[in-house]
Every structure is written in C-alpha cells, then in structure tokens.
C-alpha cells in the first residue's frame, strides 16, 4: 500500500486550465495575496487540488463530526464536501498549501474513533498514519466532547510525537459555557494544542504556525510509552517488543506494534508477515523538494 508520503508525482485529476497555461500552473493560485489569511504576514497560499511538489506531508485525523473537512478546506481553499453522514470522506482527500516558504501536501483522513478497530474507514486512517509516516499529524478534536475525543489523541501519540491537536468548535463550547484550558492540555499531552473555530477561520493562523513548527523540528517528542500495571502484560509486551525491534530494527513504535500483535490485530499481523512493517524503519521515500 502506498502511503501519502510516496515521492511520485501522483497528481489528482487536474483542474481544467486556461489554454495559455504554462508548466508552472501548479504554483500558488493567483489572488491569494488578497486572502484574508495572508494579512498577518503568515503567508498562507492555498494550492487547492494540485499541490505538486511538497516539502512536508500533513495528515488530518480525528473523530467523526469534529470538523476535519472544514479545517481541510480552510487550509487548501478547496470545497471538499462538508456534511454529516457516516463515511462521507470515503477514502482520503488530498490538497495542498504553502506556508512560510514551504509546500505542504495535506491528506484528509476518514473520521475514526480509534486506530484499533477494524472497519474500512479506520483501516485507511491507521495505515496512512502508520505507514505513510506524515511529517505532522493534525488531530482535530471537538471541544464540546473532549473526553470522548482524547482516546484517539492518545492512540496517535503512541505512534508518533509529530502531532498538533486542533481544538475545534471552541465557539460552540463557549455557547455551552465550556472553556478548555489549552495551555494545560498542551503540557499534559506534550504537543501543541491550538484552540480554533475552523468554520469562522478562527485559529487558522495559529494552527499553521504550529504545523510549521512541528514539520520543521528535528526533535519531536518520542511516541508515548504507556507502561501497563499488570506485570504479566507488561512482561509480554516488553518481550514481544524486543523481538519486533530485533526483526525490524529502527521501528519507532515497537511497543505499540507488540500490543497490537497481542490483541490479534489482523492488519498488524499481516504487516509483520509480509515485511511491510520494515518500511517503518527505513527513512521515508525521498520527497521531491520544491525549488
């Protein structure tokens, strides 16, 4: 399965172009200098459907109905269908933007409560996060139902530290008399938490700054390591994680893989059997650099 980080230029269906268009047509769409978002000097240019070459891959994950597609549209200028029904984002939508001189490809994943269950949507999301090895994972969470959204954040933190939490729908939370202490949450999760109301474009500049910071850092936090209270389980995880690391040196989240194997997770079992898991250890396929 090819992750979104593949280096090939697998451009989605190109938009209809004006006849005199040149080869540079993948550059930023004209008119973005007047985008409302570029006013703060943050220089967001939305690249729509045709991101072309990119420096960083951003994956957009989150529970269903948290506003992932709204965030996606705000960043790319696309009008990916926003609606409330199951499986709306069937596979994954891709788009692009430039910010601070770097080009980003952004992948909108299907909404999922978990990376551990087995449904087609959740498999797409998990495989993209695990095997696509995005430079940044933006987890969109619903501020009005934070408790329900945090398990997914925790699961993603166990896979990677390159995470930004987009605390969306703070406007709705405010209407319900809820305020979330984003700074406290940032400290507890060890990754940036950005309060926002994506449908009003509130918090988008802050989200972009956080994405750029995580994309550019060399020392992102390590994947979260949960130690299990049950000594028998802890021993089994440690033993199996050691063997996973032996078989696939450099796999960054061997403990997580070991836990999935103990659970009998068919997707992970297959990845171990056919060696796909080893791809996690090798550097991501060389990404074409812009300029």
């Amino acid at each position: 399965m090819g992750g979104p980080g593949g280096g090939t230029e697998d451009l989605p269906t190109p938009r209809p172009r004006p006849a005199q268009d040149t080869h540079d047509s993948h550059d930023a769409a004209p008119g973005c200098a007047s985008c409302a978002l570029s006013s703060g000097g943050a220089r967001l240019a939305r690249l729509g459907l045709a991101p072309g070459r990119h420096d960083h891959v951003v994956a957009l994950a989150g529970n269903p109905n948290t506003g992932k597609s709204t965030v996606f549209n705000a960043l790319t200028g696309l009008r990916q269908h926003v609606g409330n029904w199951s499986g709306k984002t069937v596979a994954r939508a891709e788009g692009g933007f430039t910010y601070g001189g770097a080009r980003y490809r952004i992948v909108d994943l299907p909404g999922t409560y978990s990376l551990l269950s087995t449904s087609a949507d959740e498999d797409v999301a998990r495989d993209a996060l695990l095997f696509g090895r995005p430079d940044v994972v933006v987890v969109v969470v619903d501020a009005t139902r934070l408790e329900r959204n945090l398990p997914l954040v925790l699961q993603i933190r166990q896979i990677t530290g390159r995470v930004v939490v987009a605390l969306n729908l703070v406007d709705e939370a405010r209407r319900h008399g809820l305020t979330v202490d984003a700074r406290h949450l940032t400290r507890e999760l060890g990754v940036p938490v950005v309060p926002m109301a994506a449908r009003r474009n509130e918090g988008i500049p802050e989200l972009l700054a956080a994405i750029a910071q995580v994309a550019g850092t060399r020392d992102a936090p390590a994947p979260l390591r949960l130690v299990h209270k049950d000594p028998a389980l802890e021993e089994a995880v440690a033993d199996l994680a050691g063997r996973v690391a032996g078989q696939f040196p450099g796999v960054p989240n061997a403990r997580w893989v070991a836990l999935r194997l103990l659970e009998g997770d068919p997707g992970i079992e297959a990845a171990v059997r056919d060696g796909t898991l080893g791809e996690l250890a090798t550097p991501a396929a060389p990404v074409e650099r812009a300029g």
């Binding site: 409560y113 978990s114 551990l116 269950s117 408790e147 329900r148």
Partner: protein, 76 residues
C-alpha cells in the same frame, strides 16, 4: 447488574466488560471504559436496541452487547 437491566431513570458506572476481541475493542472505542458514567436514554419498543448516553454522546447497543457491560448504579 448489566447495562440492559439498568432502569431508565438511573445512572450507572461501568465496572467491567464481559466480552473479548473486536467487540470489546469497539465498546471501549465508543467510550465504555470502566469508571465511566452511563444512562439509558432511548429504548426501542422491545428494548433492543437501546440508546445510552455516555460522555456526552448517544451510543446505541443491541441487547446482547448491553448484557456484556457490567454496571453499578450511581446514588440518586
């Protein structure tokens, strides 16, 4: 008591899930973890399925699933 036996006007706390594998995983992913507060909100005419309120959202369970969720009634 199990979740299917819980009276509608009461809240309970989940104490254990008596199921394994994918089914257990799914219930946990939907927020049914030990210690969480839950109430029966909407019952279909025959009581199966029933919608439960947990962590601010409704989760609909079939009778055989609800029977695997052990709860302790909260004080009124």
């Amino acid at each position: 008591m199990t979740l299917d036996e819980m009276p509608r006007d009461r809240r309970g706390v989940v104490t254990a899930l008596d199921t394994r594998g994918a089914e257990r995983r799914r219930l946990m992913d939907l927020g049914l973890l030990p210690g969480v507060s839950i109430s029966a909100e909407l019952r279909s005419p025959l009581g199966d399925p029933t919608a439960y309120e947990v962590r601010g959202t409704l989760v609909v369970l079939r009778g055989h699933q609800a029977r695997t969720v052990h709860v302790e009634l909260e004080d009124r």
